[in-house]
């Protein structure tokens, strides 16, 4: 069965590296195209929110408070008469910046930790992994709330808290790969050629663990967006008047009966963005590592 599947694969996918396999994604179906378009829109809203939004997100129109969707305000207005559509677009920037920065932080701390633990083992490894276990074992929201409370609610503290929360994901992943790879022939060969520890870590082993790391980055961003929205919803996130999806939902809840459309829009956008990121994570998993292909 496995042999037949291997024969059916076009030969070029076998011989080239991960990049060629990413290029393969382009050939795929409509869902990928749709998800890609959404991702592009999200990226554009992050970079140029002012261009895409029809109104100033903080412009107040008291006379238009909680008005239903119309031509001018396509998703309606909030309790201060601010344009919900524009606020959602500006909220994208917050969501994307916070999630990518926190995943980036986790990446920067987690990867060296994982490399060192995996390569050297011993007490350092044991201690690091127990700390990672402690973080992983803990209910994520309680962990982030504690850190945000300690540092004060600001973008910085939210990034730090989610970054710390995600560090074990990268550290464990890399450590696991290192343990598998360090006795593989090409690593032994590189060591025999006189490569030092840091060369082995960053030049020989790390590139070979990139596939699962890339997947973890996409899935991590999806989770980070959800956690940031949760913190904002609880009032512990980025403080008003900055528009974020979570705070919009928090405010909308008070007007659930008066203006149900107010709740609908931020929820749907959070959901769509998380869905798209998860979708790409799963696709990447399938493309980069056929062994992990979900049945």
């Amino acid at each position: 069965m496995g042999q037949i599947a291997a024969l059916e694969q076009p030969p070029e996918t076998i011989k080239r590296g991960p990049l060629a396999k990413i290029r393969q994604l382009r050939k795929t179906s409509k869902p990928v195209l749709l998800a890609g378009t959404i991702l592009l829109l999200v990226l554009l809203s992050t970079l140029f929110p002012g261009v895409l939004s029809p109104h100033d997100p903080n412009e107040i129109h008291p006379e238009l408070s909680l008005s239903p969707p119309s031509l001018d305000f396509i998703l309606g207005t909030d309790e201060f008469g601010r344009d919900i559509f524009s606020r959602i677009i500006f909220g994208t920037r917050v969501a994307i910046v916070i999630s990518s920065a926190s995943v980036g932080l986790a990446f920067v701390i987690g990867i060296p930790l994982g490399l060192i633990s995996g390569l050297f083992g011993g007490l350092a490894d044991g201690l690091t992994m127990r700390v990672m276990d402690a973080v992983l074992a803990f209910p994520s929201l309680i962990f982030t709330i504690l850190i945000v409370a300690a540092l004060g609610a600001s973008p910085f503290s939210i990034i730090v808290s989610i970054g710390f929360l995600f560090t074990p994901r990268f550290a464990r992943l890399v450590r696991g790969s290192v343990l598998v790879l360090k006795d593989v022939d090409f690593v032994v060969a590189s060591r025999a050629c006189g490569a030092g520890n840091s060369r082995i870590m960053f030049r020989t082993i790390l590139p070979n663990t990139m596939a699962p790391i890339l997947i973890q980055i996409t899935l991590g961003m999806a989770l980070a967006i959800s956690i940031e929205a949760g913190l904002s919803y609880l009032g512990l996130g980025i403080q008003p008047p900055t528009a974020t999806w979570g705070t919009m939902l928090r405010d909308a809840q008070r007007y659930l009966y008066l203006a149900p459309w107010y709740t609908l829009a931020p929820g749907i956008i959070i959901f769509v963005v998380i869905l798209v990121l998860n979708f790409f994570g799963d696709r990447l998993r399938d493309a980069l590592d056929p062994r992990l292909k979900r049945v």
Partner: protein, 312 residues
């Protein structure tokens, strides 16, 4: 097995120690002086001398060195003396926690039980009838359940059941009906995860040699799945339930806030906002104990039903 259990137990204790130290330090890093918070903005109009403030600090042990405070706290945790609330003066923390635990316990336990009862049969059906309409529906449901933020699901349920249908109260616990929507929210996410794992692992097992053997010897499909494949397929489900436990506790924070339920999650967020050290520390410590114990039990259960684990 005994050796494995001891190793896991020691690891659990180390994790617990780390969490307790971290919590304690974080609580001391919190900005603001709880005494000042208690008095309100600018002392709340009450004029107090430095000596009086110091006296209050002394009374609560807030001016002792950190390590003394920590050791005292650990000793108290293990003797069940959680101290008194700073925000609600004189109210023992233990009492506040005991009042809140049943609410959280009911919604998480009910949510998990309902999720298990529905998700495992659904996962089995989706796996055995792969690529059927049911399989697609179940997969879509589980993707939605994982991607949708739980507070938004909660809000949409309120719109549906309270606003449109007028069947259920939108918040509070004035009657048993107040529990229905919170339980639904907790159950949705758990169902999505458990179904996905059950389906994936059963499909994997169905491709194994022993399943082919069972089929080849003429066993009915019901027997192949019911007596052979399912036993192995449910192993990862056990692990996932252990892992999900922490997520359920996180979920209750949000759910209790949306529905205004007086549970542990709500008590936790309120206490963080009020800088009520004693309450926050105690809750975090209790949760850490619960999470570590649950993880330990999961690992041991796993080792008990799958002998391969305990050999290494």
């Amino acid at each position: 097995m005994a050796r494995y259990a001891v190793v896991r137990l020691v690891e659990g204790l180390v994790v617990l120690l780390l969490i307790s130290v971290a919590t304690f330090l974080i609580m001391r890093l919190l900005p603001g002086d709880p005494v000042m918070i208690l008095l309100g903005e600018g002392g709340g109009g009450i004029r107090m001398t430095e000596e009086q403030i110091d006296a209050i600090h002394r009374r609560w042990g807030l001016d002792d060195p950190w390590h003394v405070q920590y050791l005292l706290w650990v000793k108290n945790m293990f003797t069940g003396n959680f101290g008194k609330s700073i925000f609600r003066p004189g109210v023992p923390v233990r009492e506040m926690i005991f009042e809140a635990v049943p609410v959280t316990f009911i919604i998480s336990a009910a949510g998990l039980i309902i999720a298990l009862a529905l998700a495992i049969p659904m996962g089995i059906m989706a796996a055995t009838k792969r690529n059927s309409l049911f399989d697609y529906a179940a997969t879509i449901f589980s993707t939605l359940g994982i991607a949708l933020p739980n507070f938004w699901i909660a809000l949409m349920l309120i719109v549906l059941f309270s606003l449109v249908l007028k069947w259920l109260p939108p918040f509070g616990l004035h009657s048993w009906q107040g529990y229905i929507m919170p339980v639904m929210v907790i159950a949705t996410l758990q169902m999505a995860v458990i179904m996905r794992v059950t389906r994936g692992s059963l499909i994997e097992e169905l491709g194994e040699d022993y399943v082919r053997t069972a089929r080849a010897k003429g066993l009915a499909e019901r027997g192949v799945i019911g007596t052979h494949a399912i036993r192995n397929a449910l192993l990862p489900v056990v692990t996932v339930i252990g892992v999900q436990f922490a997520y359920i506790l996180s979920g209750t924070i949000i759910v209790e806030t949306v529905f205004a339920l007086p549970g542990i999650g709500r008590l936790f967020t309120d206490s963080v906002l009020h800088l009520d050290y004693q309450v926050v520390q105690s809750i975090v410590f209790l949760l850490a104990v619960i999470v570590v114990v649950v993880n330990l039990l999961t690992d041991l259960t796993y080792a008990l039903i799958d002998p391969r684990i305990r050999i290494e």
